[in-house]
Amino acid sequence: MTRTTASRSFTSLLRDAASKLSHPLLPDDYLHLLNPLWSARELRGRVVEVRKETETAATLVIKPGWGWNGSYQAGQYIGIGHQVDGRWHWRSYSLTSTPVQDDGLIAITVKAMPEGFLSGHLVNGLAAGTIVRLAAPQGNFVLPDPPPARTLFLTAGSGITPIMSMLRTLDSRGDLPDVVLVHSAPTESDVLFRHELHELAERHPGLHLHEQLTDAMGMLDLANLEAVCPDWTERQTWACGPPAMLDAAEVLWTSRGLADALHLERFSVDLEGAGGEGGTVTFSRSGKTAVVDGATTLLLAGEAAGVVMPFGCRMGICQSCVLPLKAGSVRDLRSGTEHVAGERVQTCISAAAGDCVFDV
């Protein structure tokens, strides 16, 4: 047995023993009251720095607490939970830090969306020291190791974030082969990480930068991609940006029979009709679906589709029917409140508000 596994199994023995004393809670439930980061039950992080990047975007540097195992791949995203007015709200953000730099810190870069609920809070309302909740890194929008000989990064707006982590990682490893970055933003001052990108391009002759400043130059026309990247058909491409751009890229690459060479990351869930009435309810674990109107409860929808749904009173008072909403949105029929992914909802009094996915 190696030393580290020996010490790890000692720690887990200790945890086991301690949890017999704290039953039915975990030691973490007491410890996090002393230091919010001392809990592996719920991943938490402390915001150590909020760095303004542009007028509307900021980077949050976060120190994760216990339970964070430190490993992630450039391009992956994490979940961030932030409490606003007593409620925890969850959103996903790509990591912009690099896993190579091992200082125990991670970073995300958030762009405040006009009319958006949480992003504005994260960019403008967060002080250093704030405790946030974290969900473990995930996603397969990642580079293979070693990276492909020729790469195209096609990004727009905040879509640069996962790519930034990739570039920083390649840079840290000192292995930045032939890379073309085509990035769109309205003006120079809107380009995230602009200074660093130019500095990288200076240091790495293999990195070619094309900035499409759309206020002056108009939108990038993908039909004319050759103009900015003549050999794009011979490159592995990672694209991240607004849905319209990604949809267009998908059409183009597929029409050239190159679908395999295109890797996409979508920031907005492509579920239909969010906030509307009714939709398709997917029960992911049982693999069943139901198309429902905005008045049918999710409990009835699930049962009609043959899913074994938990329930008790069927009238909204006992909480036996609560299930986690994985994606989409639902409406509480009693109060009219909308619930979004990451929340737990009472299926007996909620109906689909657009397409949604439940984990049963």
Binding site: L25, E42, I317, C318, V322, R334
Partner: protein, 386 residues
């Protein structure tokens, strides 16, 4: 014979009852919309206080050979167990804090410091008791299958032992409610499979085993030479919590004026009539801030039964509004001093250990139960007297 026609009993027209329901719906929405940071901070503060108190108590018990330390440690641990079960556990499991979307303070994940598993409690309490509140033969909390607390139940010779049975139930309350949900009678009646009951018994044994290991083996052992002192302190704290939570719960539905209902009433019930049943079937007791807190806000039993999933810290303000509504609709609002309410409960329980032949009132007009016939009977009696 308990209430079968709730509108007749309350002298309300169907339109009145519907209007009452609308008012209560609006009140619910108003509270829901105003939940916020202050409420979230409240429950976090209570959790911190309780866990601090628990560990201060357990730490003090390292010196439990020294009597003042035994007393202080036992007191802190008793308080912490009461708070954990009542203001935190019971209310979190009701989903009162689910709106925070905090996975650590959520009805779907909470496990409490009690012999009953949260899962079984959710069924026996949230579903059975809160849905079928005070319906004789349906709500198993009406006497817990052990006690005759209303003369709607036929007297049986075993009821003579009620005083002793009740004392034992109060002392061992947590085991009583753990076993309550296993409901062996349902197996006999074919409403539950033997396998399911076995499964429930296994879960119950597992939880009780862990609870006992913690309180009666590990913590005492950790305090070394003070083993016996800590053991007796932990035992005392569990019993204190049992007796207190039993008293509070019995004050919710068994004092005079907390009415009972028949299945016929339930079968035709509208949502607004459901509210009305909760109001007529529950009883409050008056209390200052401390008593309110230590009873987990269950001195606002009426408000809790109308809105079981609204945050407990708001019941006091909801109570003002509910009382005003009751006054306007001339619906009785049962409340009184804690000792009076508990006294009535004990009196009923003692009295009903006797056969009906020794009782004066009938189940149409008795202190603990009545029916819509009560008004006719009273009018007739007045006529005779005149």
């Amino acid at each position: 014979m308990a209430i079968s026609d709730i509108k007749a009993y309350a002298h309300l027209t169907p339109a009145d009852v519907e209007a009452l329901g609308k008012e209560l719906d609006a009140l619910r929405r108003e509270i829901e919309e105003s939940r916020g940071e202050k409420d979230a901070a409240y429950i976090r503060r209570v959790i911190k206080l309780q866990r601090g108190l628990e560990y201060a108590g357990r730490a003090t018990l390292f010196a439990s050979l020294f009597p003042p330390a035994w007393i202080a440690g036992t007191a802190m641990l008793s308080l912490s167990k009461i708070i954990e079960n009542m203001e935190i556990g019971h209310n979190v499991i009701h989903g009162q804090w689910d709106w925070m979307n905090d996975p650590e303070i959520h009805s779907s994940t909470w496990e409490w410091d009690n012999a009953a598993t949260s899962e079984s409690w959710k069924h026996s309490h949230n579903v059975v008791h809160h849905t079928w509140t005070n319906i004789v033969g349906k709500d198993r909390d009406v006497g817990y299958g052990l006690l005759r607390v209303t003369r709607d139940y036929k007297w049986k010779p075993k009821n003579l032992a009620q005083p002793a049975v009740y004392t034992l139930l109060a002392l061992l309350f947590e085991y009583g409610i753990a076993f309550h949900d296993v409901d062996v009678s349902a197996v006999k009646k074919g409403r539950k499979t033997k396998e399911r009951a076995k499964e429930q018994l296994r879960d119950m044994r597992r939880k009780i085993g862990k609870q006992m290991t913690k309180d009666y083996l590990l913590w005492p052992a950790l305090t070394g030479p003070a083993f016996l002192g800590t053991l007796s302190a932990n035992f005392t704290a569990n019993v204190v919590r049992n007796v207190w939570s039993n008293a509070v719960i019995f004050c919710g539905h068994f004092p005079d004026g907390a009415e009972k209902f028949t299945l016929a009433e339930y079968e035709t019930e509208t949502p607004a009539e459901w509210y009305l049943r909760q109001m007529l079937g529950s009883a409050n007791f008056n209390g200052g801030k401390l008593l309110t807190f230590m009873s987990g806000n269950l001195n606002h039993q009426i408000e809790h039964h109308i809105f079981p999933d609204l945050p407990s810290n708001r019941y006091a303000e909801i109570a003002v509004r509910v009382r005003e509504i009751c006054d306007r609709y001339e619906i009785p609002y049962t409340t009184g001093h804690f000792l009076v309410q508990y006294g009535q409960t004990i009196r009923t329980m003692l009295k009903l250990s006797l056969p009906d032949s020794m009782l004066k009132a009938t189940s149409d007009d008795a202190p603990e139960t009545a029916s819509e016939k009560k008004w006719e009977l009273r009018a007739e009696r007045e006529k005779v007297a005149a």
